[in-house]
Symmetry: C2
Subunit: 299 residues, 2 copies
C-alpha cells in the first residue's frame, strides 16, 4: 500500500511526517475525502474547491494545482491497483517551531491516502441504526467556521466512540441550542409528508458535497426540500431517515436508539424498519448520477 507524500509515492509504512508539523502538534490542517469510481474521482471540482476554501479561511498555503492533485491521486491508485477507492487528501501547516503561531512553518504538508471501497452495499439495502450523541455537542461555528473541513475532529471522534459504545452505526450531534446538526461523519436527512428535510447550515454543520447533490435530486424523486432548525423529536415522526457522505452515498437509517422514559434505552424502528420508497428512489437517482458522470468522463 502506498501514500503520496508531498511530491512522491512512498510505501505506507514509510509515510511519515515531522513531529514538528503543526498538523500533528495543533491540528492545524484541513482535508477532503473523495470517492473514486472506476478510477475517476467523483465530484472532484467541488472537493478541490472546498479544499482551497478551507485553506483560505486558515491562510494556509496550498500551492498544488487541481491538475497536480488529480495526477497524484491517479498515480497513487495505479500503484495500489485500485479502481474503486476512497481517497483522503490532507494539507497541514508543515513543520515549525513549537508554539501556536504558524508564521514560521513551511512548507505545507500534502498527504494523499487511499483505502479500498468498504463494501457498504449490504448496509444500503438493509439500513443502519443511529442515535443522538449524548456525550458531546457540535463545535459552535463561532469557535471554528463549519465550512472549514479541518483536522480538529476530536468532537467527532468522541461521537464515533459513543456510537461504538452504544452499538449504533452513527451518532448525530446537537448544537448548543439542542438542534440537530450532522452525524459524526455524515449529513442527516429525513422525510415527512413528501418533504425532504435536512438541518440548515446555520445550525452549524459542514454542508457536504453529497448533501448538496442529494438536495438537487429531490425534485426528481417527487420531494420538496426544506432546510431548517430541527429538534431530535422531529426524527420520531419521520417516515424515512437517511445519512449521506462521499462513501455512504445515500444510507438509510432504519433504527433509532432512543432514551425511553423509565425504560432506559429503546430501539425504535424508522418507518417499517426497512429503507423507505423515497430513500430507495434517491439511492437509484444518485447511482444514475454517478454513472452519467463516468460516461461523460469516457469511462
Amino acid at each position: 500500500m502506498h501514500v503520496f507524500l508531498q511530491s512522491r509515492l512512498v510505501h505506507a509504512d514509510q509515510a511519515r511526517v515531522s513531529a514538528f508539523d503543526h498538523g500533528f502538534l495543533y491540528g492545524d490542517g484541513i482535508y477532503e475525502t473523495v470517492r473514486v469510481y472506476a478510477e475517476t474521482p467523483f465530484e472532484w471540482p467541488a472537493h478541490d474547491h472546498r479544499l482551497r476554501q478551507s485553506a483560505r479561511h486558515l491562510s494556509l498555503a496550498c500551492p498544488w494545482s487541481s491538475r497536480y492533485l488529480l495526477t497524484a491521486i491517479e498515480r497513487l491508485l495505479r500503484a495500489d491497483g485500485r479502481s474503486e477507492a476512497t481517497v483522503r487528501l490532507s494539507v497541514t501547516r508543515g513543520p515549525g517551531p513549537l508554539g501556536l503561531d504558524p508564521a514560521l512553518c513551511r512548507p505545507s504538508t500534502l498527504v494523499i491516502q487511499s483505502h479500498p471501497d468498504r463494501s457498504l452495499e449490504a448496509l444500503r439495502e438493509k439500513g443502519v441504526s443511529m442515535a443522538i450523541a449524548e456525550c458531546v455537542r457540535h463545535p459552535s461555528p463561532g469557535s471554528l467556521d463549519c465550512r472549514i473541513k479541518s483536522t480538529n475532529s476530536l468532537s467527532f471522534v468522541l461521537a464515533k466512540m459513543e456510537a461504538r459504545r452504544r452499538g449504533v452505526f452513527e451518532t448525530v450531534l446537537l448544537n448548543e441550542a439542542g438542534r440537530l446538526t450532522e452525524g459524526a461523519s455524515s449529513n442527516l436527512f429525513f422525510i415527512r409528508a413528501r418533504t425532504l428535510h435536512t438541518p440548515d447550515v446555520s445550525c452549524g454543520l459542514l454542508p457536504g458535497i453529497t448533501r448538496r447533490l442529494v438536495l438537487g435530486l429531490a425534485a426528481a424523486a417527487g420531494l420538496r426540500t426544506l432546510e431548517g432548525a430541527y429538534r431530535p423529536q422531529d426524527l420520531l415522526s419521520a417516515d424515512e431517515i437517511f445519512l449521506t457522505n462521499t462513501t455512504f452515498e445515500v444510507l438509510p437509517v432504519t433504527e433509532l436508539a432512543w432514551p425511553g422514559p423509565r425504560t432506559g434505552r429503546r430501539r425504535r424502528a424508522v418507518g417499517r424498519g426497512r429503507p423507505g420508497p423515497y430513500t430507495q428512489t434517491l439511492q437509484a437517482l444518485y447511482r444514475r448520477r454517478v454513472l452519467r458522470r463516468l460516461a461523460r468522463a469516457g469511462v
Copy 2:
C-alpha cells in the same frame, strides 16, 4: 537537537510520526507543556496528573509511568545540553485505518520535544499588549471538555494569528455568551480594588497549573481572589492585568488594543502603562516558589 520518540532519542530531523497517526489525521491527541528550571521540571506531578486526566477523558491509552516520562525528559535535555527549557509531551492515538473511530489504532504515540527557554525576562519587566480576539470564540465546553488539553488547537491558532495581525502579544477569547475565558496560550488575571479576578472555569477554559499556583499566592500579596464571569469592559477599569502560563509565569499586560467608537482601533494603557505593584509582587512570589522547589529538589 533531539526528540524523544516512543522509546528512544532521535535527531529532530528524524523525528517523524506515521501519516496514519490519528493525532495527525484527526487531532486525536493530548499534550502538556512543562517548564524546566535547572534541569528540574517544575510542577511535574500536576502536569503528569493532568496528562492522565486528559487521556482518561478520551479513553486514550497512556501506558508510560510518571517515572518513565521524567527519565525521558532528563535524557532529552541532557542530549541537548539544556538546563533551562520548555518541554512538550504529546500523546496521540497512534496509527490506524482511515476513519474517525480509534478502535483499531495502536499503540499510542509519545513525543517529547524541547526548546530553549525563550527569554521573556525583558517582557516581564516591561509588559506586553493584548486584545480581545474578534475572529474566533472559545470552543464551548459542550463540544470538548475544556479540562482536556487536546491537540485540537485550531481556534487558538486562529487567535494567535489575529494577535500577530493586530500587532499584539496575545489575544483573549470570549465564550459564546461574550464572557472572557482565556488567552490563546495563557490564563487571564486582572486586579481591581485589591481583588485578583480571573475567569471562572465554568466560562469554559483550561484551568492552568500556573493559574492555580498564582491564585494560591494571592493572599501573600495582600489580594482577595474572585473567579467570575467577566465582560471585556471589566478590563477597562482594571488597575492591573497579567497573563500566566508555564513559560510566561506572571506576564504583565500594560497595553490593551481596543476598538474605539468611530476612531478605529485604539491603544489604551493599563494602569500607568507599566507593570503594577501587585503584579510585581506576584512575580517575586512566583519566582521565590520556583527557587524553593528547586532547593527542595536539591538543586
